[in-house]
């Protein structure tokens, strides 16, 4: 049984939940896996922190929450501070480079990838799609799911009138991710 735990974290309005939904949907609807998505609710989260969790598996998921994420995606410094210690030592950490400064405290062995998703989204004309940029990037650097599956999940999750924009956002993130993998960009602020 292979299980992958993923946490997405940022602040309200960044579309963190949507990212988790897209990944979860890609896995269980567009590939033949199982996935469970949960999100942190809470009055304390009013305009504050937002986080979502996805567990992917080749068998039905029993335990619904993430305890030690294989992959952590963070889009805010507070989220980084709170969640980065949880990542497994063989895990992946993905950050929004303009919003998160990666400290040296990251466990050795953790692969770290960064993308200026907000900036890329702004270049597409709509800051709002930063989450889909991030999703594209995620798809590229993790290689967890087929790009086609995630693309379909994106299309299935956004309103009709914005399908095009979101597709472009996905591709932008995906392309950036491929470049990062090739080593042709590095864009990580570290303290």
């Amino acid at each position: 049984m292979s299980v992958t735990e993923i946490r997405f974290a940022g602040f309200g309005g960044q579309g963190v939940i949507m990212m988790a939904t897209v990944i979860g949907k890609a896995a269980c609807i567009f590939e033949n896996g199982y996935s469970t998505m949960t999100q942190a609710f809470g009055p304390e989260a009013r305009g504050g922190a937002a986080s979502a969790q996805v567990v992917l598996s080749d068998q039905p998921v029993l335990y619904p929450y993430v305890t030690e994420p294989n992959i952590l995606v963070v889009m805010a410094q507070e989220a980084y501070t709170k969640f980065s210690p949880e990542v497994r030592s063989d895990g992946i950490l993905i950050v929004e480079t303009d919003l998160v400064r990666v400290t040296t405290a990251v466990k050795p062995g953790v692969r770290v990838y960064g993308v200026p998703a907000t900036r890329l989204a702004e270049q597409l004309g709509k800051k709002m799609v930063l989450n889909i940029v991030m999703t594209g990037f995620f798809t590229a650097v993790t290689g967890l799911l087929a790009a086609e599956s995630v693309r379909n999940a994106v299309l299935d999750s956004v309103p009709a009138h914005s399908k095009d924009l979101n597709l472009r956002a996905f591709e932008a993130g995906f392309a950036y991710g491929q470049k990062v993998l090739e080593g042709s960009v590095t864009d990580l602020a570290t303290v």
């Binding site: 309200g12 009055p43 304390e44 009013r46 305009g47 504050g48």
Partner: protein
């Protein structure tokens, strides 16, 4: 200047449970603004702060009690007024303020509102009206005006909303005013007046909820709402309450609408028992068990 800064404290500070800051309210939320006005009014009133109790129900606005460094009660949804009624009748020496949201006071709590107003219980009710149930995610409230989008009215609301000042007056309130969070000075003054009024007093404060009302309705952020308040508000003291109903983006009539005198519940009770029972009546001040 830096020296002075450290010497001078924000006047609200002494009223806050600073160990609970920052609060949970969103950027641009108006609830905090109303708290400023409340604290200024309390300061002006020279009230003994040990003798002021604040009672809230549940909601974003209902969290006020938890942030005020006074005896404070975060009760159940809708029941702040009857709790306050019990507290005030047992402790006539306390100033009892109910501070809560529009959903809390007028949806689930509507019955208690009209009955406390009828009885003219000597409590002060401040309603932060953000036109929506914010805490639970932005559902339609009995105050949601016109054709607004909410999470339970995804195609827009169509229900008529309450005219709160009219309801308050019809039920019996002795003091009724409406302001917005743009009217900080007027609101503070009105709250001060309310403290000096004996009986059931009611202030409605329109307040932005950028996160769950404004955003969904593409009305911008808190700032944009304040600008709208400024633009649309018209002060009409003494306006007939039947004419101050709110619409989605029409005029907002603000001012003091009702200020009348009627003996409050405890006074009526005392006078009545003195009259009917004479010597046998044992008048009680504060009811405190041994």
């Amino acid at each position: 200047m830096s020296e002075l800064v450290s010497l001078h404290e924000n006047p609200t500070e002494q009223f806050l449970r600073t160990d609970r800051m920052p609060h949970i309210w969103c950027p641009g939320c108006g609830i905090g603004t109303t708290v400023n006005c409340f604290t200024r009014a309390l300061l002006d009133s020279n009230a003994n702060l040990d003798k002021v109790s604040v009672v809230s129900g549940i909601g974003c606005s209902g969290r006020v009690a938890g942030y005020l460094n006074l005896d404070s009660f975060h009760t159940t949804h809708g029941r702040a007024i009857p709790f306050a009624t019990g507290l005030k009748l047992a402790r006539p020496d306390l100033d009892v303020v109910v501070y809560s949201g529009d959903g809390d006071l007028f949806a689930i709590g509507g019955n208690h509102f009209i009955h406390a107003a009828r009885r003219n219980v000597d409590i002060k009710v401040i309603c932060v009206n953000n036109l929506v149930y914010a805490m639970t995610g932005g559902q339609t409230a009995p105050t949601t005006p016109g054709d607004a989008l909410t999470s339970t009215s995804p195609y827009g609301t169509f229900e008529p909303s309450f005219n709160l000042p009219q309801l308050a007056e019809a039920a019996g309130a002795v003091y009724v005013a409406r302001w917005t969070t743009y009217h900080v000075r007027q609101l503070a003054k009105s709250m001060f007046e309310m403290f000096n009024k004996k009986g059931f007093a009611f202030i409605e404060v329109l307040s932005p909820c950028p996160t769950l009302y404004q955003r969904r309705n593409k009305m911008g952020d808190g700032m944009e709402t304040l600008r709208q308040y400024k633009e649309l508000s018209k002060r009409k003291d003494g306006a007939s309450t039947s004419e101050v109903g709110l619409t989605r983006d029409g005029e907002i009539v603000v001012g003091k609408f009702v200020d009348r005198d009627r003996p409050d519940y405890a006074t009526l009770m005392k006078a009545h028992y003195q009259h009917t029972m004479g010597d046998k009546y044992v008048e009680t001040g504060a009811i405190i068990c041994q």
